[in-house]
Amino acid sequence: MTASEHVLGLGWDDVSAVEERDGMPTLQVAPQRLRELLEILKRDLGFEVAILVTAVDHSPKAPRFELVQQFLSIQNNERLRLRCPLEGDNPSAPSCIDLWPGAAYMERECWDMFGIQFDGHKNLRRLLMPEAYGHHPLRKEFPHQGIEPDRLYREWERSRIERAAEREGQEGVNS
């Protein structure tokens, strides 16, 4: 019995199979059921590796975001993809880093690029963009040339100039 058949056999009405063009077994799962399903995948079905945690922005459709997670079971030579629609502009989803620690960076990237919060992630900082950046670049409304991409650099530069001017003034007093 494959993993997706096992999950579907549990009889949950918020988990359903989705046909995928690339042939990977895929389950659509509601966010409130996601955490339970992840635990089953890790504990009972032998999925050792979290291959991918990412998201899709379906704007302007609702629900806007869709969390996509892919898992690999080496012992059963099996792969599984989960898709989880998330409501709202600033959604959150359960973290899976206690089950698969390797997913920590992918969740950080997902937060950085899409602005999806992961509940239970201990260190949910941005991965690629500077911490104070304030935008999430892979969202649909984000222009590809960015919103003030040099803002943080210019702020840093200005603070340097001020410090240098201060130093100059102090040296003048001392000498």
């Binding site: 670049p137 984000f142 040339q145 530069e157």
Partner: protein, 214 residues
């Protein structure tokens, strides 16, 4: 050195030379350029090839790449500069002792290149005063050697003595403090005139143009 004249005394073999201080300083500077290899991505590989034995930049006195900015004269920005890295690049530039020059190697550092994106600095000249732009993706090592030679010709025309006598005049807007007013600061405004043409550089094109005009 064009204006160098050898004057030999008649009674013994030891001689002396007469030259100008500017000529001597420029001659020393241009033949001992120590590059700061800021290899940020693919262009860095060509930079390494240039320094290696096959292209051998030692012929032009610029083989001593140092990884401490305190020892460097010319910063070669080889690769894609991101805004996150820009602060580091500017800090390295500020830490280099005067006199200092900058070569923007490759289209990425010259103009952002194909990365027309939120993450990449669209030309390092928006944060650094660039002296020479090297086109190419990546430029061949010979193109970079050509840039070094162009830079040498540029250094020949500088007037270091004037700066020594007059001293640093004002705090430059970059906030680097003393010696902040680099001689090449004006390059920023003349950005398209520096590689060839109107900067007074006698390359083949400008001589040909002068011939046509006359």
């Amino acid at each position: 050195m064009g204006s160098l004249k050898e004057i030999t005394t008649t009674d013994d073999e030891s001689g002396f030379m007469a030259t100008q201080v500017n000529e001597l300083m420029n001659w020393g500077r241009k033949n001992s350029l120590w590059p700061m290899p800021l290899g940020l991505s693919c262009c860095g590989i060509e930079l390494m090839a240039m320094i290696g034995p096959k292209f051998d930049i030692a012929r032009f006195g610029a083989e001593a790449a140092r990884f401490s900015p305190r020892q460097c004269d010319v910063m070669i920005v080889a690769g894609t500069l991101t805004w996150k890295m820009a602060e580091a690049a500017r800090t390295i530039y500020d830490q280099m002792p005067d006199p200092k020059w900058v070569i923007a190697m490759g289209v990425c550092s010259s103009s952002g290149g194909m990365y027309d994106s939120y993450a990449v600095v669209q030309g390092v000249d928006s944060i650094l005063p660039v002296d020479i732009y090297v086109p190419g993706c990546p430029p061949r090592p010979d193109a970079l050697i050509d840039a070094i030679m162009k830079l040498q010709r540029k250094i020949e025309r500088e007037n270091p003595l004037k700066r020594v006598l007059e001293g640093p005049t004002e705090l430059d807007e970059s906030g680097t403090g003393i010696f902040a007013k680099a001689p090449n600061m004006e390059v920023k405004t003349k950005r398209y005139g520096t590689y060839m043409g109107d900067s007074g550089m006698k390359d083949d094109h400008s001589t040909a143009r002068a011939k046509e005009e006359s």
